[in-house]
Subunit: 244 residues, 6 copies
């Protein structure tokens, strides 16, 4: 519907989420020459760094480690990364954070937004991040909202896959073919050595979603057997000129 170059914004609760859940989408956009910006609301320093705590690291050390890992992973995917360092477990959900995110939207003017699913009974930070990202996107559209920049358009929003999708009311609307960039996603995952057990887990998931992609695309299309995919929920109706 538009000739604008794409501009992808990813709002991630913790420093690693964007890699496991949206690494393929990020790498795809970057490979097309789009600008990609990842905003990590926290480092995941309390809730997703169990090993480091057990090893006796300090809070400061853990945050530094997580920052460096996330920067490496973002670089591997071709994305810029920013850290709001808001703290996690729980992630604070306040008007001030929402205002920060409005300003990010106004500054970047994304054409697509990715964030977490709106339900997750295993991790309250994920839906909190999603709620704030979505509220910010709406506020940024209002010409009367007092923040620098032009009012935002209405970029489509996609929610990425939580760890236990069925328990999070996550029913995929979109299967994204990431076969061509899966190597980059794997490389980004390997930038997170503390979670080595996740490398194969999310590789298997990409395979599983790839099998489903081929099933939904039709067996006759000649897609390769090692097709890899990521699953997304689309939050707003798709606007299109072609039913396909």
């Amino acid at each position: 519907m538009t000739d604008n170059p794409g501009n992808l914004l990813v709002v991630s609760a913790h420093a690693g989420d964007f890699v496991w859940r949206a690494g393929g989408a990020i790498a795809l956009a970057a490979s097309r020459g789009e600008r990609v910006t990842v905003v990590c609301l926290s480092f995941g320093e309390r809730g997703e760094s169990a090993r480091a705590w057990r090893e006796g690291r300090s809070l400061t050390e853990i945050k530094a480690i997580r920052r460096e890992e996330a920067e490496n992973a973002a670089a591997a995917l071709g994305a810029e990364v920013r850290f709001l360092d808001l703290g996690d477990y729980p992630l604070p959900e306040t008007p001030e954070v929402v205002d920060q995110l409005v300003r990010v939207h106004r500054e970047l003017a994304p054409t697509t937004v990715l964030t977490h699913a709106l339900a997750d009974p295993y991790n309250g930070d994920h839906p909190a991040a999603a709620r704030m990202a979505l509220q910010a996107r709406v506020l940024a559209q209002a010409v009367g909202y007092d923040a620098p920049g032009e009012p935002l358009g209405a970029p489509p929003v996609f929610l990425f896959e939580p760890h236990q999708p069925e328990q999070c009311e996550f029913r995929p609307d979109v299967l994204l073919d990431i076969t061509g960039v899966f190597d980059r996603k794997r490389a980004a995952m390997e930038c997170l050595p503390a979670q080595r057990h996740m490398w194969d887990y999310y590789t298997d998931l990409a395979t599983r979603r790839g099998v489903q992609l081929r099933r939904n695309a039709g067996p006759n299309l000649g897609l390769p057997h090692d097709t890899r995919a990521e699953a997304y929920v689309r939050l707003y109706p798709q606007v299109t000129g072609v039913l396909a």
Copy 2:
């Protein structure tokens, strides 16, 4: 995901449904040079011809009138139309009808399928048509199904808008921009003179869905004020290489 030329199949319970509900999609596909085939399972002779009955027409006359009107409307949209003449109110839902529809799928090898929503507490023929169309599409995919032709791929399915969408659990996933072909849809509607009160009703609906399309596309895209749209539900996950 494919270079195949499109090939659209529309399964319609009654002779008029495809005009009001999917006329824009049909005209769009035809205008791109795609083959479009409408299969009307019945003429709507009992359930949707109140005026003719009140005027004392016979069943044979009514079916002939409805056939001619539907042929004219299909021609105005650029589509071929077929009539299975199964009877309506109620539309029979049998294995034999499903088998007929499997053969249609095998013959035409559609790349996109449109049909009714799966719930309609005001009209049982609509979900019956949808159930049979969907079952036929799945059966046509099986190499072991005994019917001529090659096994079908997995064409995406879109459900078109019922008369009272909220009562039919119809939550639009896709807003299709039909501005460029709306004149053809209006012309097709005017091929159905017995339902003249519907012409404006569905013109207003196209306007309403157009307002929503503009709202979801973003106000900055320069879409015209008289944008017209049709709403659809997508039944299977979208397979794509780009999140947009």
Copy 3:
């Protein structure tokens, strides 16, 4: 919205259902002078007559007993009762039965229709009866449907309470105050001696729904402590001139 005298039709799968589930609504309508007709699709001879089977009664005997009990209960409530004697467990769900029910609708021209809930994982006959009643009501509205009588209007439909409401997706939309006719409902229940254990069960349920009615009506309205109620789901939107 209308000055027509009311005319209530109750479609019941088995001979006893209308008593436990809608006895209050029936007695209320009858006490206002409305015509009330109960159509029992079966006698419940196989699925709801365990005691009689254990006592060694024959099928013929059981049907006769159930008929007499239901006639007595209907009389106690002020209703006419008809038996289609279609058999139960399973109740046959066929176009022929639907046609019989269309003719009932055309003949009686009900202004309100009561039937079972659309889901019941404990009793397949109940939703089968509901599906057929609802389909018949829609077909009877079509002027082109070939059956005697005038086309039906669009009488509102209420679904009565199943035995395990939460497992049947039964979320009450309406709480009907049956306090003034509860004695009649109790008398009708006592016409069914084989199910004596149900008398208190459904009396307690009426109390429970009565507590909820008072809770939803507001504590200040002076409703008596022994308010009795029945719960219903409304299937179509309410048409009204007052929000209350």
Copy 4:
């Protein structure tokens, strides 16, 4: 269920909402001689005044304009209007605002409450207003809540129609016939000149809901072709003595 004269409370997030969404219900109640009070939590100065911002008006000017327009519209409908001036985009959701609303409920003792739907992915202020209104209504019922006045009863609550109903899980439970007061609703809409494009949009919507009202009321009732309606969701079970 009651002889009390009606007393309608409408809780509206922004200064214009009550006109588009509930103008008919307000005019109907006023025309029956009920007291109607509209509480506007904000003026909609930031989120719903795009034209004024583009024209370079100041915040103070915009709020004054919106106040005057809303006062005029309320007068046209026969209602009193109050402004809490809490700010919008985002509307603050705090215990203090809820307490203000409890005091409004205690003061006015409404017999019916209207507010926004509980979901709206396009406008976070709407569900925030609804959540606060609903919480206040419950708190006002508690004798122990420390605010002037008598404990509230349990007035029924109706949610009015959002702009994109299907995306807001809005499935109408009630279709309200506003034909007799539609002229007043149109006059009230015309008190909002900055949103002139909405006048026809909401006139068309009233027509569309009117068609549905006639469909659900039955075609035989003699309702006029230009029947106008508003759609509502009923939040609590209806308490009644008649199933109709």
Copy 5:
């Protein structure tokens, strides 16, 4: 799946909730020798003490009365009870309260957690208590959360039955046989004299759920006619080695 002795934590919004809704589960656990701790977030002093307010008691008096009653009821069930005295109507929902609850989880290391349902349109304190209890349980699992004690495991969570279950989206997943301890539950209820009308109401409910338990267990199992039960929703998937 474990040999640990059970350790039950019940998080209750008001001082009486645990008796009506979970008294049977508490007595059962205590009778098996498990430690049971009830945490009452408030005394229910404003929202659930109507009679005392009407009798002119002061806030301090009411809290003292409610405390004593709850202590007596807990003793009758075999449980310890704690009071956080946070105030009710509304119950404050803050990070500080959640932190208090994290510390309770870390201290007690429960093997099962009971709390309120997540929706209740009649009582906002109930879902607020549930949200905080559930968030605390998740936070207490994180090794990096700064509170004394070991990280929590993942104890199963059960939601107890609200007053109007269908309006609270409460669909029972578990029917708990409390026949053997029902006398203790009744004795605990009788420790709450201000709510004497609830004694029979919740006795009847136990009977009703008992009938359902027998229905779901199968009629052949020899369960007594006076079986009593409580209903629960299970929030996370059951982990088991046997399907039964």
Copy 6:
């Protein structure tokens, strides 16, 4: 709740389904000494034998191959297998088939029943099989149903995992630990050489569900890293004496 030895009945639409979806549950039950009976309604000869059709096998040959494979797999799991040979794609859904299944229930008197999920937009035979199995289980409970044997109790029903669970509204209620028998499940899978690509797919799925099982059981329980699991939906409320 019972001392009866277990007796497991598995109703499978096609000859292979029980292996992929419930092989672990079957092997677990058999390893505990329970009788396990698998009823295959068809061989999956048309819909799930693509390779054989492409190799030019006849219908008779394919059915023989599938029968032998299923017998081998059942033997590897410790189960008896029966074939009703009803045909597939589509599986006929008739009263006669239901009656056959009633007789199976009466004969075997299962204490647990496993079957397919009730929705599957990719495979209509699966929900058809489930509907018939569930109807048969209910009918078999009625003393008045005319079939040999005693009335059935109310065995719990578990639905096994479809291929694309989220698209089938499959939200796991139970995670079954099959670690101890996974070797047998793998051996049974290897009895189906035509579907060699599924061996690893379902091994990966067992790993994935195992990770989730460990997550839901709590990290402190010492479950091994290679825990394997199967996911199930429980159809009726669990009846129990312990919340755990």
